[in-house]
Subunit: 339 residues, 4 copies
Amino acid sequence: MQDEPIMDVAHLGHLEVLTPKPEESLRFFVDVMGMTESGRHGDSVYLRCWDDYERYSLQLTGSHTSGLGHAALRARSPQALQRRVAALEQSGLGIGWHEGELGHGPAYRFHDPDGHVFEIYYETEWYKAPEDKRPALKNQAQRYPARGVNVRRLDHFNNLAADIKANREFFQKYLGLRLTEQIVLDDGTEAGMWLTATNKSYDFAYTREAHGVKGRFHHITFALDSREAILQAADIFLEHGVFIETGPHKHAVQQTFFLYVYEPGGNRVEVANAGARLVLAPDWKPIRWTEEERKKGQAWGLKTIESFHTHGSPPLPPGFGDEEKVAGQDDLAEKGIAS
Amino acid sequence: MQDEPIMDVAHLGHLEVLTPKPEESLRFFVDVMGMTESGRHGDSVYLRCWDDYERYSLQLTGSHTSGLGHAALRARSPQALQRRVAALEQSGLGIGWHEGELGHGPAYRFHDPDGHVFEIYYETEWYKAPEDKRPALKNQAQRYPARGVNVRRLDHFNNLAADIKANREFFQKYLGLRLTEQIVLDDGTEAGMWLTATNKSYDFAYTREAHGVKGRFHHITFALDSREAILQAADIFLEHGVFIETGPHKHAVQQTFFLYVYEPGGNRVEVANAGARLVLAPDWKPIRWTEEERKKGQAWGLKTIESFHTHGSPPLPPGFGDEEKVAGQDDLAEKGIAS
Amino acid sequence: MQDEPIMDVAHLGHLEVLTPKPEESLRFFVDVMGMTESGRHGDSVYLRCWDDYERYSLQLTGSHTSGLGHAALRARSPQALQRRVAALEQSGLGIGWHEGELGHGPAYRFHDPDGHVFEIYYETEWYKAPEDKRPALKNQAQRYPARGVNVRRLDHFNNLAADIKANREFFQKYLGLRLTEQIVLDDGTEAGMWLTATNKSYDFAYTREAHGVKGRFHHITFALDSREAILQAADIFLEHGVFIETGPHKHAVQQTFFLYVYEPGGNRVEVANAGARLVLAPDWKPIRWTEEERKKGQAWGLKTIESFHTHGSPPLPPGFGDEEKVAGQDDLAEKGIAS
Amino acid sequence: MQDEPIMDVAHLGHLEVLTPKPEESLRFFVDVMGMTESGRHGDSVYLRCWDDYERYSLQLTGSHTSGLGHAALRARSPQALQRRVAALEQSGLGIGWHEGELGHGPAYRFHDPDGHVFEIYYETEWYKAPEDKRPALKNQAQRYPARGVNVRRLDHFNNLAADIKANREFFQKYLGLRLTEQIVLDDGTEAGMWLTATNKSYDFAYTREAHGVKGRFHHITFALDSREAILQAADIFLEHGVFIETGPHKHAVQQTFFLYVYEPGGNRVEVANAGARLVLAPDWKPIRWTEEERKKGQAWGLKTIESFHTHGSPPLPPGFGDEEKVAGQDDLAEKGIAS
C-alpha cells in the first residue's frame, strides 16, 4: 500500500514582493488592482484582496530592487506545522524561526534549492473589516471595493529556478505538495512544474531560469471571478497606461485564463481565472507536456512571447544582458517552456 | 492543542438519482444538460460531465419513484478508507461492503441518521475518452460537448432531514467533514447546514424537512464556469420547456449563483457557480445565519419561493398533502430556512 | 405604395430627473453608478456616462419632489428638426422654443398627451474629456472610470400614462417613432408600448398608470456591456445598501436583462443589457402581448412584483394612497402589465 | 445648411460565400457555428442565425474557389430602393435587376469600384420557424439552438480592395453609407474604412489589398451576445480542430472583441461582440487612425499577425505567391493596416 498523501500545508498565505518604486507600486496595487491597505511596518505596506480571510496577502516592501522577498505557506494545524518544521530541519535548507511579523504567528523560514526564501506558519490574524469596509453579507471578509480591477484573492505565484527537478522534489518531499502538471524536454530535463496544496490545480509554479541566475521571481497572480472580469481588467490596465505583456488568453497548461502586466516596480503581475476547474482527485496523475506540445503556444494558438522567458525580477545582474537575448534562452523560447 | 482535522474524504464522487420516467430523464440529462452516457447496467444509465475525471458522476436509475438512490464519497487513500469504515462501523449506522458496482472498487455503505444511503470507496476508474470525445488539451477528461447546458462537473447535493443537528454531528464525527455555514433558528434548533471535504465551500447541504418524512432529497447541483453560463442555461431551459422553479439569483448563504429546475422525473436540479470563492482556511469559522437574516431572502432580495420548502423527492406519502402546504411548513417558509 | 418611414429623430439625448434629495442622488449617480459630472447650472448638476458622445445624458435637478423634468430627443439634421417642429405645432401640444440650455442648441418643447414635457433639438456640444479623463483609445468619449457600476450610456426611459394608445399615436404621427412591442388587454385597451427611433428595440416605453394620475415617471435606464456587468452591479448595489426592487432577470418583452433599484430621491433606475439584439428590419411587425402571455411573468418565470405597478415618481398625491393598493391596480398587477 | 443624410439602406441583408468544399463548409456552419439550414437551390445552401429575421443571412455556394459571391443590402422602403437604383444607374457600375432569388424580391445588382458584386432589394421573406424550431418567446425568430457557437446574427463583412478611397466615395455617394472610422497612411492614401447604414458602428469594412488583385474577400462576421460567448467559441473551435488565426482580443479600431478562424473552404470567419457600443450621433465625426497609431497593434497590445494582411479569398492567382510575402505587403503589415 502506498504512502498516504501529506496534507500539512493548507494554502499559500502571502507573498512579500520587493519594489524599487514603493509609492508607484502602492498606487498600482490600490488604485488599479483595487486592493486595500491593512497595515504598515518599516518599509512594508500590507495589502489585501476583498476575499482574503487573513489580514493581508501581499507585503509590498520598498527595496533597492524588485523580486520576491519571501513566500509564506499556512500549515493546516499546529501539529502539521511541527511536522513540516521537523522535516525542513532535516532538509539542510532550514533557516530558523522568524517571529514578530505583522498578521501571523511564528513562522519557520527556509530556502528552496534555488535560494528563494519561504516560511510556514499556522497562527494567523483574521481580517476584521472596519465599519466603512464591512460587507453586506456576513460570509465575506470585506466589502467589494468596486474600484479598478477588484482582485478577489491571492491565487498563486511563479518562481524561476535553474533546476526545476530539484525544486519539485524538495517541495514534494518536505512539504507534501502535489504535482499536477509539468514540462519535460526531449532531453529529459524538466522545464516547468505546477504544485498544489489545495483543490486549486496549482498554488505555485516554477519555470526554468534561462541564465542560471538564482532566486528570481516570475509573477504573482490574483484571482478574479470570471473571464469577463479579466477582459474588464484589460480595459482598465489600458486606460491606466499599465504595460500589458501578453493576454488575455487561455493557457494550454492548466487551462487558466490569464493576463500579464508589469507593475511600476518591474514585477510581473497576473490576473487569472480557472473557471470551475478544480483538482479533486487525491491521486491526480500529473500531466506531462512535451517540447512539441509546448511549441504549439497557448490554448487558442497565441505564441508565447519572448519576454515571458526573459523578464523576471530582480533584473539580471550586469553582464547577463538583462532582459535581452542570451545564449540558450532563444532555445527556451522556441521550445515554448513557459505556460 | 486541539485535534487535527480529519482529511480522509477527498470529495463527492457520484449520486444515484431515481426516476419514474427513465427515458425522459435520460433525454433531459443528455440533450438539455449536455451530459454524456458512459455506461448502462440493469435499470441504471451512467452519465458524466465533460470535466469529471471518474467514469461517471450520475447514476440515473429507473424506479417506481424519484429521489436519492445513494450518495458516494471518494476516500483520499486506501488507508483513509479503512479508517472511515472502522469509524462508521462504530457509529451503528453501517450497512456493509458493496462490491461489483460499475466504475469503482469496493464501497462501504452506511445510512445517515435520516436514513439516506451513502457509500465511501477509494478505487475508481478514470474516464478514457473514445476517439470522438477526445479533448484538444490533454489535461481535460473529455471534449467539451457544445450541446445544451454543458455542465462541467458534479458540484454538490442537498438532502432534506428531520434532525439537522444529528446529521451534522454524524458527518463531522465519522467522516471528518467540515461545517462552513449553518442556519440556527431563534429556538436554538438547526435548520440547515453546509459541509465540505474540499476547498469548495460545500460538497453537500442538509435543510430541514417540513413534514418529518425521512430520506428525502432536495437537489443535485452541477457546476458551470461562469454566471453568464448559468444565464445561458436559463435560456436553454426556457426553450426546452423545462420548469424553472427559481433563479437565476445569488444565494446569501454561500453566495453561489444558482438556477433551479425540475427534471422530468420530478427531482430538482441546480446549475451553479461560485466564482473564484474557495474556503482555504483550515480553521474556517462557521457562519451562523439567524432567522431574521434569512427572512431577508436571497442576496439581492429575491424571496425564497414556497416550493423550495415543500418540494422534494420522492413526493410525500399519501396523507402528507404532497407538495402542498402542511402545518408547520409555512413557518419554515416564513423563516426563510432554505438557502 | 405605403408611406415612407420618418427618420427625423436620431436618438434619445438626455433626461432631466427631479430629486428632493439632490446631494444624496448626486452621490448615488457619481459614486455608485460611476457617472461623471460635466456641468452645473442653477439647481441642476449635469452627469454623463463614459460612452455618451454628448456633454451629458442626465440633468439631475433639485426639486420639491421626484419625477421626470423633461425628456430630450436629438433630431437627425437641422431640416429634420424643422419638419418635426412644424408637425408638433399642428399637434396642439407644442409649448415653444427653449434656448440657453447647457450643452445643446435651441430646443422645441412640447407635451405628450399625458402631460410629460419633451424637447427636440439638433445642435449639440460634443464632450471634450479633460486630461485626467482622456481615454486610451481615440474612438471613445471618455476614460472608463472603473468606479462603481460604470454605466456606459443612457439607454431608454419609461413613462407612466393614463392612455397608452393616445400617447403611442402621438409619437408615431408627430415624431415618426416606430412601435416594436406592445401589450393589448383582453378588452382591447393598450397597457404598454415600446417605441424606437434607432436600431435599439426601444428608446422609451409607456406603461399604464394605475390611478389615472398624469405625468408620472417609471424609470430611467443605463446600458452596460454584458449581463455579467449587471450581476456585478447587483453586488455593488447590495454593498452600498441601495434598494433592489427586482432582478436581475430577463424581460419576456424585449428580452432585455434588467435590474431595478431606487435612487435616494425615489426615482426608479434600471441597468440593462440587450445582448446583440437589434431591430434591423425597417418594416418590423410589432409584437403584441396578450394578458395571458403577460401573466406568465418574466422570461424565466420571475413574477412581476407588486411595486412595479404602483411605484412611480413623483409619489401619488394625497388621497391616492401613494404606493399602496388602489382599486383597479391589483387588476393590472394580476394581468402582468409591466414588462 | 448641409445636405441631409441619406437613410435609404436599412441594413446588410445577406452574403453569398463561395466554397470549393461545400460539404465540409456546410458542416462547419451548421455543426460548429450553430446555424440552421433554411433552403437549398442549385449549388447553394441557405443558412440562418437564430436571431436573423429574414429567411437567411448566408448563401453558401459550391464553387471552384472561395470568396464572396455577392453582398446584399436591404433598402428601407420601396421608394428608397427606387432612389438607390436610380443613383446606381448613373454611377456607371450598375449591372441590372436580378429576380427569382430565394427569400427576397427583385434585387438590383451592381459592382463596387473593386469589382465585388452587390445587390440591393426591399421585399423579403420573414422566417417562419417550423414547430421544432419555434422559440419560447414570440419576439424571437427561432429557437436558440444550444449547438456549437450559436451565432446570433450576421453582423458585418470585410472586403479587400486596391483603392480604398474610391470604394469609400462610391458607397457614400450612391448608397448614403456613413463613414465611422478609417486608416489614413502618412502618404495620405487610405488603407481602411468602416461604413455603416445603421446604429452599429459598421456594417462592412474595406482594407487595402496588398497585391493589387481585385474582388477579394477578407471575412464574414457573426455577432454573439457577450465577450464570454466568444471565449466559449474559442474553446469550441479548439475542440473541433478549426484553425484559429488570431484572437480573441479587442480591436483598437471600433473596439470590437474578435476571434478569427478559417472555415474549411478557406474563407475567414469572425465571431465578434461590440458590447453596448452604438453610433447614435447622426453627425458622427469619423475617427482617423494614423500609421503610428496602427503600429501599436490591437487594443491590449496584441500584434496584428502577418496572415491578416495576406490571406484573403479566393487565393491569389499563380504568380502572386498566394498567401506568401510579396513586395509591398510587408510594408502594410508593418504599418498595421488591418483593424
